[in-house]
């Protein structure tokens, strides 16, 4: 408030009240500071040996339920880490169903953990010497695994061991050469376009046509899964240069993915920060094509949208496949229950539910899915993906070379 229209007497009555408020403020402020200092902290002895983070280590933050072992009679709690939309998407997500189903059949409680930044959060905890507070991670890609192994000498995950149902996982999806990751679903990154505004090109080269100038929105490969998959697809298609590791499928070693991106940029491709940014810009009609998932029509159908506005295009009949894996953390409190959970995830009925609720494709070829599922969830004739060995040592360079070219000003 200002004192323009305030009369003198109003100001007089206001003043003692203000001073009162101030005293209260100070008193409460002091108390709050003290309380904050006391309440939120907890301390715990770090044990005799160094690096002893095996069994018996207590949880240390107040908001985590504990995972007591040593044969206590309580129901054990399995802590499953995952990404947010796996348990909490505005449309559908498998988290709730999985938790109810698992708890009804196994003698364990399931607790979800969804730290921001996903797998990196656990890399960070491991590096800091803090307890991981989780038993397994559900939902990482091949490039996450590459990053983990580059950052941590001992990795983050234990070998999967004997998992019932593992043999049903489709051959092309087993992305971990060291048998830690167990794939549980997969998805394809393709073009989604508004068929009422444009007809998407059939090939990568077609995207360079004048007709599609400014027509495509993609995501930053440094921060977005779909953006990275699309970049990797261009590397797969055009290679990473004459002395690079990848020979492009186009057969021209002199023309690499950066050359293609230079032309794409000349043709006014838009690269925004996240999938949210791009999808909302696309929905608002800023451009007729967007890089997204090939399951787009499943959602569109759920929302009752016009499927003509949600068309899928597989460039060169291909799409980049992004299998998602799960694995048990090293030093998990309940490794056995964690492995039971992984078997559970591979059961035909559960595979079907995950695919439908995560709007993805099952990892096994035994999944129970409604017959009409394939009508809306489209799969490319020729799925492409990079193996662990191909990404190792290369993927971060591909991304940063791209950044340097695209943002150079």
């Amino acid at each position: 408030m200002t004192d323009d229209e305030t009369t003198a007497d109003r100001r007089d009555t206001a003043r003692p009240a203000r001073r009162h408020t101030r005293r209260q403020f100070l008193a409460v402020g002091g108390a709050a500071a003290g309380a904050v200092a006391l309440a939120g902290c907890s301390a715990e002895q770090t044990g005799d040996g160094t690096g002893d983070d095996g069994d018996g280590t207590d949880k240390n933050t107040g908001d985590d339920t504990d995972g007591e072992d040593n044969g206590t009679e309580e129901t054990p709690t399995l802590t499953v880490a995952t990404y947010e939309s796996f348990i909490d998407a505005p449309s559908v997500s498998p988290g709730e169903w999985l938790k109810d189903e698992f708890e009804s059949r196994f003698d364990a409680e399931l607790e979800w953990a969804t730290p921001d930044n996903g797998v990196n959060y656990y890399i960070e905890r491991e590096r800091s010497g803090a307890d991981l507070n989780a038993d397994l991670y559900v939902g990482f890609n091949t490039d996450d695994l590459v990053q983990i192994d580059e950052e941590l000498n001992d990795g983050l995950f234990a070998e999967s061991g004997d998992i019932a149902g593992l043999e049903a996982v489709r051959e092309g999806l087993r992305f971990d050469p060291f048998d830690r990751a167990v794939p549980f679903d997969t998805g394809y990154i393709s073009l989604v376009y508004n068929g009422t505004q444009t007809e998407a090109p059939e090939t990568f080269d077609g995207l360079l046509d004048d007709e599609h100038r400014g027509a495509l929105i993609a995501q930053n490969p440094g921060s977005s899964t779909t953006g990275r998959a699309f970049l990797l697809h261009t590397v797969h298609r055009f290679g990473d240069g004459a002395d690079g590791a990848i020979d492009g499928a186009d057969g021209d070693t002199a023309y690499d993915y950066l050359d293609y991106w230079a032309e794409l940029q000349d043709n006014d491709v838009r690269v925004l920060g996240s999938w949210d940014n791009t999808y909302s810009a696309w929905s608002e009609g800023e451009a007729p094509m967007v890089v997204s998932y090939s399951t787009d029509q499943v959602f569109a159908d759920m929302e009752g949208a016009d499927l003509g506005e949600h068309q899928i295009r597989f460039l060169n009949d291909q799409a980049y496949a992004n299998p998602e894996g799960m694995a048990v953390f090293n030093g998990a409190d309940h490794p056995d229950i964690a492995r039971e959970f992984m078997s559970f995830m591979l059961e035909p009925a559960v595979q079907g539910e995950i695919a439908e609720r995560n709007v993805a494709f099952p990892a096994t070829d035994t999944a129970d899915l409604p017959d009409d599922y394939a009508a809306l969830a489209q799969e490319p004739a020729d799925p492409v993906t990079f193996r662990y060995e191909e990404l190792q040592g290369s993927v971060s360079e591909w991304v940063s070379d791209w950044e340097r070219q695209f943002a150079g000003n």
Partner: protein, 574 residues
């Protein structure tokens, strides 16, 4: 106590991150990462060649040539300067309107100028696409009057306008406060001595308003220099700023590069702040006149040319302001009641109600988000106030290097949000070991600390000028009469600068409500999410639920501010 808290809660955790810029794997110290960045034209453009020891004579012609490379850092500074100029240009008329005219709803409007400050960038992006997009409001209006459409999205202009949306209200707020404190008698004296109205303005009013404009400009530069999500949402990667790369390096766990870039960003921002503080120290004009200039009615009874001209100018301004500030917010509100078929619907609010009723414990629900936001903001404000006041007292005492202390106290404004989040995560939430004990702090407490640290510089800025202008003799007499130092602060200094304290509290509150980057990193538990985090979670393929949550954020904060400012009484300063 305050300094200890600051050190433990801010400088130490942040320091542990920043120091990674100079540590190599085996524990040695190196400046290699810095050297590499400084010499890299990708970051420093043509300047990099100077750092690479090329002759200035060879580099100079290229720097002034039109196809020079700015580099990421050069570009970041360039867009920050443009944004600052534009924010001042659009903030000043608002200050003129608020400070010099009387009209219905003026006070509410003044309170609401803080609202853009708390809007998460996701919401602003939604509002901007709906307003300035290809099929947006602006083009609809242009089409209706027969003008060709404009393509604003994914351009530098879109980013600058978004920065104006955030920062012009800030400039307006500071400037209004200074303008209101101009003493009417000084102007009348000048006029009676024969100065024309324009001359009186230049000689009396301008010198008192000018420092406040600079405050707004300096803060705007610092904020827009560290801009991040809005750039990639409205501009695109070809317009990436330095914070985009800091963020990416942190996400990629390349801490040496992230820390080195963050330090470079910090040094540039602090340089600007330091320059501004030196200026402020030399130019503080304090005539806390008991009698402010009388406000004029917005609608004069007898229209003359001299009365009409400024009002016509203001009318033009209101049209522009309506487009830049009101239209994006209105578009957001509209999006929250628009269904998939384009018709009006309350479905998105029904979604929120359903989610509240049936959402499981591990899902984000609206009410806990509101409750957490208000609790954290309240606690952060209560923590930021004493911190800010103490630091303000420290920086208004006279000693050598005082300006440096002042600038260091402002550092939280200039440190990259992701670095703050990471530092607190590693330093407090993961815990640190002392004598064989591992001390950890709950995520919610770390959030309050992060918010308080981000907010207290505003308290310093609003309180320090008042303290500096206090009559020293008052304090000395009280001390001579036996009052303790604490007593003097409590009974004399604080009551005199109380309006500044209230203004600082409002800002601390706003910063806390709007903070996203550090919060989302620290809110690892299921019980620590705030409204901006909830908005982000509710974003899906349809914008409806997220915008509905955004409207709730708007309403809750709007109400909070009216309450805070009513409770606090008259406010001044920021």
């Amino acid at each position: 106590m305050t300094s200890a808290l600051l050190v433990v809660a801010f400088y130490y955790p942040i320091g542990t991150v920043l120091v990674e810029a100079v540590i190599v794997v085996d524990g040695g110290v190196t400046l290699g990462v810095f050297a590499e960045i400084l010499r890299d034209p990708f970051y420093f453009g043509e300047l990099a060649r100077l750092f690479a020891k090329e002759s200035p004579f060879a580099v100079a012609p290229d720097i002034v040539s039109s196809d020079r490379r700015l580099g990421i850092i050069g570009f970041t500074a360039y867009q920050a300067v443009l944004s600052t100029i534009a924010s001042v240009a659009l903030g000043l008329p608002a200050a003129y309107l608020l400070a010099r005219f009387e009209f219905r709803g003026r006070q509410a409007l003044r309170s609401l100028t803080i609202v853009p400050f708390v809007l998460p960038s996701i919401m602003v992006a939604v509002g901007f696409v709906a307003t300035f997009g290809r099929n947006g409001t602006l083009n609809a209006v242009l089409g209706a009057v027969g003008l060709p459409p404009v393509e604003l999205m994914f351009t530098l202009e879109a980013i600058v306008i978004a920065h104006v949306f955030y920062n012009a209200p800030l400039v307006a707020r500071v400037t209004t406060a200074a303008w209101e404190s101009v003493d009417a008698s000084a102007v009348e004296t000048a006029r009676s001595l024969g100065a024309g109205p324009i001359r009186a303005f230049y000689d009396v009013v301008a010198p008192q308003v000018y420092p406040a404009v600079l405050t707004g400009a300096a803060l705007t530069f610092v904020f827009t220099f560290g801009t991040f999500p809005i750039v990639l949402a409205l501009g695109g990667f070809q317009l990436a700023t330095v914070e985009v790369f800091i963020y990416r390096f942190v996400r990629d766990l390349s801490y040496a590069e992230a820390a080195a870039l963050a330090i470079i960003e910090l040094v540039i921002s602090l340089g600007v702040l330091l320059a501004y503080l030196r200026y402020e120290a030399r130019n503080t004009v304090r005539s806390r006149g008991a009698r402010p200039l009388p406000r004029r009615s917005l609608f004069p009874s007898a229209p003359t040319a001299r009365e009409l001209l400024p009002r016509l100018g203001l009318a033009g301004y209101v049209v522009v302001a309506g487009l830049v500030f009101v239209a994006p917010i209105a578009s957001m509100v509209l999006a929250s009641v628009t269904g998939g078929d384009g018709g009006l619907t309350l479905d998105h609010y029904r979604f929120l109600v359903d989610r509240q009723r049936t959402g499981t414990a591990f899902q984000v629900r609206p009410w806990p988000a509101i409750r957490n936001s208000l609790t954290f903001a309240g606690a952060a404000t209560l923590l930021a106030l004493p911190m800010g006041v103490v630091v303000a007292v420290l920086t208004t005492r006279r000693y050598r290097g005082r300006k440096l202390v002042d600038a260091a106290a402002m550092a939280p404004l200039a440190v990259s949000g992701i670095i703050v989040g990471l530092g607190l995560l590693r330093g407090l939430v993961f815990g640190f070991e002392v004598w064989g004990w591992r001390i950890t702090v709950a995520g919610s407490v770390a959030i309050v600390v992060a918010h308080a640290v981000a907010g207290y510089p505003f308290v310093v800025r609003t309180v320090a000028p008042g303290l500096a202008g206090l009559d020293r003799s008052l304090i000395e007499s009280a001390r001579a009469l036996g009052a303790s130092r604490v007593r003097v602060i409590r009974d004399i200094e604080l009551p005199l600068v109380w309006p500044g304290v209230v203004a600082g509290a409002a800002f601390a509150f706003a910063i806390s409500i709007g903070e996203f980057t550090a919060t989302v990193v620290l809110a690892t538990g299921v019980d620590a999410y705030t409204m901006p985090v909830a908005i982000e979670r509710f974003i899906g393929r349809r914008l409806g639920p997220a915008t509905a949550m955004g409207v709730i954020l708007l309403i809750v904060t709007g109400l909070s501010f009216v309450v805070v400012e009513r409770l606090g009484g008259e406010s001044r300063g920021l």
